[in-house]
Every structure is written in C-alpha cells, then in structure tokens.
C-alpha cells in the first residue's frame, strides 16, 4: 500500500484508515491510500519504480478513466492533462476535477492527437495507461508533446495486444521496437498486483 498526505476524493477500498491518528483526523489531515491493484502507477512504485512523476512536473495522462490515479497525481502537479475517450468515465473524472483545480480534462480519442493538440501544452511526464491493441502506437504518437529529456511511462497490457502469446514474448518485442527509437530507463513487471502488465519508462531524447 502506498500512503500519502492529501485530500481523499475517490472512494477508498479501506474506509478505516489505519495510518491516521485521532489527532490528525481532528485536524483534518487525511492520508491517501493508493491501492496497487487499482493503480498501475502504485503497482510500479511497489515493484521498484525509480522515476515517478516529480513535483512541479506537468503530466500528460492518457486513459484517465474514472480518475483513480489522476486524483493522486493531481495533488502534487501544477497541471495534469487527462485524456479519456469514454463519456461515462469522463463524468466521473469531472466530479474529481471540480475538487482539484489542476486537472484539465479532455474528452477525445487518443488515437488522433491532432484533433486536440491545440488544447495541450508541453509536458514533463507522459503516462500512458490504455488497454488497446495499438497502445504502443498511441504512446509513440504522444512523445512529441513531451519536452526534451522528459520521462514517458507506458503501462503495457500484453493481453490487449495478443491474448494467446505469452506476455514476456510480447514485452520483449515491444521493448525492442522502443529501444530503436529511444532510451529505455527502466522496466518493471507488475505481476502480483496487475496480471500480465509491464511498466516501461523511457527518456525522451532526440539524439537517438
């Protein structure tokens, strides 16, 4: 479990928080509990992620969904651009965005960034959490909105690419294609928390 100070916005799976003392609850400080089974970023942190989004990083988040991870990230970043395709999920995200003024929600298809690029700004951190067959393409398409030297994180769901091939073979293939174009900083298998998922961290370097 990852614990952090902040506003509790998303319904917590463990309602009684074991970490806050009575005094703290009285003062109004609450602790966020990030469940690695629900958030791939939390799962990455549990498996030894060295490059999480830093404070003052502008984050571009693809596949924001109902905003579980977004609600944690938005409390430390100056700006979080959250792209989500499903209107029903976007409704949930907007309820969170009402509370957190740093979230800029975008209802759009991440396959066509040209359609909303005028609504973006240069990001320091790119997080891609899309469970689609072409998730790697989508990630690649958004690298141009990442500043030079910025960090990109790809949460790879191998089951979306091919349900039959073993996950590690797909992962190696993806890693090879990414390696030709950019510098891979680290990669993690999110196994006990997320089934058949990998987290790949790259650095946006135009020299490669």
């Amino acid at each position: 479990m990852i614990v952090k100070k902040g506003k509790v916005l998303v319904e917590q799976r463990y309602p009684v928080n074991p970490f806050s003392s009575r005094q703290e609850r009285h003062k109004g400080t609450s602790y966020l509990v990030m469940d690695p089974k629900r958030s791939k970023l939390a799962a990455g942190l549990k498996t030894g992620l060295q490059h999480p989004p830093q404070e003052h990083d502008i984050v571009l988040y693809l596949g924001a969904s109902a905003g579980y991870t977004v609600s944690f990230l938005a409390q430390q970043t100056p700006l979080l651009l959250a792209v989500e395709f499903s209107p029903v999920m976007m409704q949930e995200l907007l309820f969170i965005a009402q509370e957190l003024p740093t979230i800029a929600p975008l209802l759009a298809d991440a396959r066509q960034p040209e359609q909303y690029e005028h609504r973006l700004c240069e990001a320091d951190y790119l997080f891609c959490d899309i469970s689609q067959r072409d998730q790697v393409d989508i990630f690649n398409k958004h690298l141009k909105y990442l500043r030079r030297g910025g960090i990109g994180a790809l949460a790879l769901k191998t089951r979306s690419i091919n349900a039959v091939t073993p996950p590690d073979i797909i992962f190696k293939k993806v890693l090879n294609t990414l390696q030709q174009r950019m510098e891979i900083v680290e990669h993690h298998r999110l196994e006990p928390y997320q089934k058949d998922h990998y987290l790949i961290i790259i650095r946006n370097d135009t020299t490669l």
Binding site: L81, P87, M90, L94, A97, P101, A104, L107, A163
Partner: protein, 256 residues
C-alpha cells in the same frame, strides 16, 4: 553588481512562475468547458442500446424465476392449469384470465386456506407487470434498432442486432469487424480455447439463435453466410448508406 544580477534573475523566475500559473489556469478552464460541451453534445445511442438489451435479459430472467415459483405454488391449488401450459407466457395469460376462479373446478388440487390462496393469487400482478415491461422494452428496441441499424435489423431482427452491438461494444466496432469475427461473436470461450489449445473452432456464436441457423443441419455454412451479410449491413448502417436490407435478405435466401 553581482547582487543585483541575482536579484534580477529571481524576479524573472517569480514572474515566469506566475505567468505559467496563469496559463495553466486558463488551460484548465478552457479544457473543462470544452469537455462539458462535448459531453452535452454526445449522443448515447450505443450505450442505451446495450443497456436496453441487458435490461431485457434481466427482465426475462426474473420473469422466468418468479414464474417458476408461481407455477410451483399453483400446483397445490390448480394442478390442471399448471400442467396444461408449458410455456411461461401462456401460463401467465391463462392464470390472469381465470383470476379468482382458480382451483374451483380442479379435481386434483389440495385443500388450500383462503390466506394461502390470497398469497398465490398475489404473485400474478407482478408477473403481468414484468410481461408488460418486457413488451415495452422490446418495442423500444425495435424502434431504436430500425432507426440506427436499419439494414442489420431487416436482416436479423431487432433483438439479435442489439445483441451484436452489445457483444462487439459499439456500432463502430461492429462495423469494423470482419465477418469471420461476427460469425463467432458470443462464443469467445470456444474461440480462445481454439487459439490456445488448438481445439476445433466454433461454427457459430450468438447467431445460433437466428431461426435460419437453428433450423438447418449445416449450421456452420448458414452462420458463415449470415455473418457475411451482417458484416455488409453493419458497415452500410454505420456509414449511413442507403437501405439495402431487403436485397441482402433475398441474397441470403437464394444462397441457402
């Protein structure tokens, strides 16, 4: 001198930060407004189609379950009626027509106290309501599918058309599916078993419920043929082409 330069730098930094903050605020505000606008103009066609067909499923389930319990109770009061109507729909209609005359002319029924009879008769109105609700949802589905999927509906009927949308996810996804995928839509378990373990591929998925497929001996061939035409119909529907439903239907019947 050095001191002044440092000071200038920090002012520039503060200014820059304030500007950035202003810009971020503007970005958030405009994006939120645009997103709300997008949400307002979004037509929930697929979502409601899928919801309606899933709602129809639950209605059907609860109708059958409650009806079974009613049939069980009816056996003690009027076994002849309970026995005569195998189909749940006709049983409910027969019971409604008889009303409180139930059990009066029965030869095999037991002795039932008046409170128990009230209990059994009380099960009927909710069943009738469920039946009415089912019909309402069916007419809604008919209306909506013939509006948004005219060709597919003409080919396979409203319920199956809505079912295909439910299984594929949306009209767009259905339109982009190849006919071989449509043929086995709804048989995902068998498909993945086929891919993983090399067992025989399924011949049909949800298309099995279509009367043409059900009737014939050569189910694989008919399902393939039907899926072929559905793939065409779904594409024409999605890109809102002209009405070719009847023509496709004729083609299917000719090739049978």
């Amino acid at each position: 001198m050095k001191h002044i330069v440092l000071h200038e730098q920090t002012t520039a930094k503060v200014l820059h930060k304030a500007k950035a903050q202003q810009y971020h605020k503007k970005l958030v505000k405009e994006n939120t407004q645009l997103t709300i606008q997008d949400l307002k103009t979004h037509e929930y066609v697929d979502e409601l189609l899928i919801n309606a067909i899933a709602y129809l499923d639950t209605l059907q389930d609860s109708f059958e379950q409650q009806g079974t319990k009613m049939r069980e109770a009816l056996r003690y009061l009027d076994p002849e009626t309970a026995h005569a109507h195998r189909d749940m729909d006709s049983l409910v209609t027969a019971v409604r027509n008889k009303g409180s005359a139930l059990g009066k002319s029965s030869a095999l029924g037991g002795t039932i106290a008046s409170t128990s009879k009230h209990y059994i008769l009380g099960m009927i109105p909710p069943l009738l309501q469920l039946k009415e609700e089912k019909n309402r949802v069916k007419t809604y589905l008919e209306h909506n599918t013939s509006r948004y999927l005219p060709n597919t509906t003409a080919l396979i009927g409203p319920e199956l058309a809505a079912r295909l949308v439910q299984l594929s996810g949306s009209r767009k996804k259905l339109a982009f599916l190849p006919s071989s995928s449509i043929q086995v839509l709804g048989a995902s378990k068998a498909v993945f078993r086929h891919l993983r373990e090399g067992s025989k591929s399924p011949k049909h998925g949800i298309l099995f419920t279509h009367p043409l497929v059900k009737k014939t001996k050569d189910k694989g061939r008919v399902a393939k043929l039907l899926a072929d035409k559905i793939a065409i119909a779904a594409k024409v529907d999605y890109f809102s082409g002209e009405y070719i439903g009847e023509q496709l239907k004729k083609e299917v019947e000719e090739q049978l």
